[in-house]
Symmetry: C2
Subunit: 265 residues, 2 copies
DNA sequence: CGCGATTTGTGCACCTGTTCACAAGCGCTT
DNA sequence: AAGCGCTTGTGAACAGGTGCACAAATCGCG
């Protein structure tokens, strides 16, 4: 159970990137077709690899990397096999070129400029989050609708009014935006962002955005995550109660106290 | 493409809750076996239903609710059918009892106490996040390892030292914790939480936690989300470039400018 | 009271993704 | 130079989830 479930729902099917058969242009396998599920795991592999590199490793086996990334080794090998062959049988994977390949695939060789809209409670924290900077992104602009917030400096960047979105998105060549506005404003702001040229949005507002097909949207809803955990809590206690009842009636083997953990294990 | 992908990876398979065959105890269908994918969508349905209720609706069709929740109607009907029958053919679903049923399943009838560990940049924002309170949770305790932070009041709650975790988790009957510590501290803190009795953890630290089977862990990594979007950006531009090249060579139909959007649509 | 319009609930086929298990390949040792 | 142990890469079976398409059920209206 404590297998780690990480962001990103499958839900949408199909390979990603399969648009032009390479036969048409005879291109080298520069951009392989990756299953969506694999794409979602690559960042986790990348993080684990960086950690291994920092702790002095040059190579790592699929078993070792799988452990560090919280997946099983077969899955890991299949995922990496999609990127081409970066392993040596009998030895393992060379960390350095593998890191390079994954970063290339993820488009992280160049640092990407990101806009953040909504400098409220959450947005403020995101603006200061060091993890963005250290993992390939640069917060290039902050926006808010509230005029009293405009001008405020956060981490050295001034908050601008959302009216400036078109101008700034163009001048900074921003294609990714983080949306941390209140729910009510999210759709309108998203429309403005898309109109300005943004093609990927990370949405923290608890609303379903309605946007053109070609725009990628990922949603993170903190309350939803807790509610899913709540379900599992409810389930555990319900099952525990039922089992206890069953025990009390049938009363065969094992101590009622241990049942919950035992069953799950 | 702009279909909304929401947290929560499948990855782990199997029904949830299938532990005791109800034959053993002849229990009413109080706690149905739900596919994990369905569980992950229920919170979204719940949010949409609340919104509909607030805007004066009594009933809603599967089509309408599916639209509001960002899924297709067949999937929605199948999901709801797992909860038992709350719809009327020819009419739709009665919102009120449906809300009640989903809240019951998710264990949201009673407000759940949550502990938050790590009152740094992100933790501070989470502590003040209104969405938790409004959607079934109560932040019952704040913890930090930094003694200079201990005692600070956030939203009316005092930050306590992590050494107090065992005591407070027991006295407040906390089973869910939010982990917003630096990566280096996360595993140790998680161990302490579990030892104190916590059985579900929402982990914001970019590390894979190693915990007993019976503990549920969900992971949210903001940088990972951006990296996935980055992949799609990279893919879009790579495909765009290839298409442009192909166009320039073969030069058959359509304007090169429109291709990207056209293909995706 | 019966008929038609509407919408749910679901059997079924399809498809993505996971896992097992093993052959192929590599390096080290003798 | 040959053999041995180790690890990758992958074919094949399996599991879970999705979406179509339709039968069953309900309501409203004539």
């Amino acid at each position: 159970m404590s297998q780690q479930r990480t962001g990103h729902e499958a839900g949408i099917t199909g390979r990603v990137g399969a648009v032009t058969p390479s036969a048409v242009l005879g291109s080298q396998p520069d951009f392989p077709d990756l299953p969506e599920a694999t794409v979602a795991r690559l960042p986790e592999y990348l993080r684990a690899l960086h950690h291994l590199a920092e702790t002095g490793h040059d190579t790592v086996s699929s078993e070792g990397l799988a452990l560090a990334a919280g997946v099983n080794s077969a899955k890991l090998r299949k995922d990496l096999s999609h990127l081409g062959s970066y392993g040596t049988r009998g030895v393992g994977y060379d960390i350095e070129p593998l890191v390079g390949q994954i970063e290339y695939i993820l488009g992280l060789n160049k640092r990407r400029a990101v806009a953040l809209v909504g400098v409220g409670n959450l947005g403020h924290a995101l603006a200061g989050y060091a993890g963005f900077a250290s993992r390939g992104f640069r917060i290039a602009a902050l926006f808010d609708a509230d005029l009293t917030r405009v001008g405020e400096l956060i981490n050295g960047i001034a908050v601008r009014h959302i009216g400036d979105i078109p101008e700034v998105v163009k001048s900074e060549a921003i294609s990714i935006a983080v949306l941390a506005t209140p729910a009510g404003a999210a759709q309108a702001v998203a429309d403005q962002l898309v109109a300005a040229g943004v093609t990927s949005i990370l949405n923290f507002a608890p609303v379903v955005l309605n946007l053109p097909e070609q725009v990628d949207v990922r949603k993170v809803d903190l309350a939803v995550e807790l509610q899913i955990l709540s379900f599992h809590e409810h389930r555990k206690s319900a099952r525990g109660a039922e089992l206890a009842k069953a025990m009390a009636r049938g009363a065969v083997n094992g101590s009622p106290v241990a049942t919950l953990g035992e069953v799950a294990a």
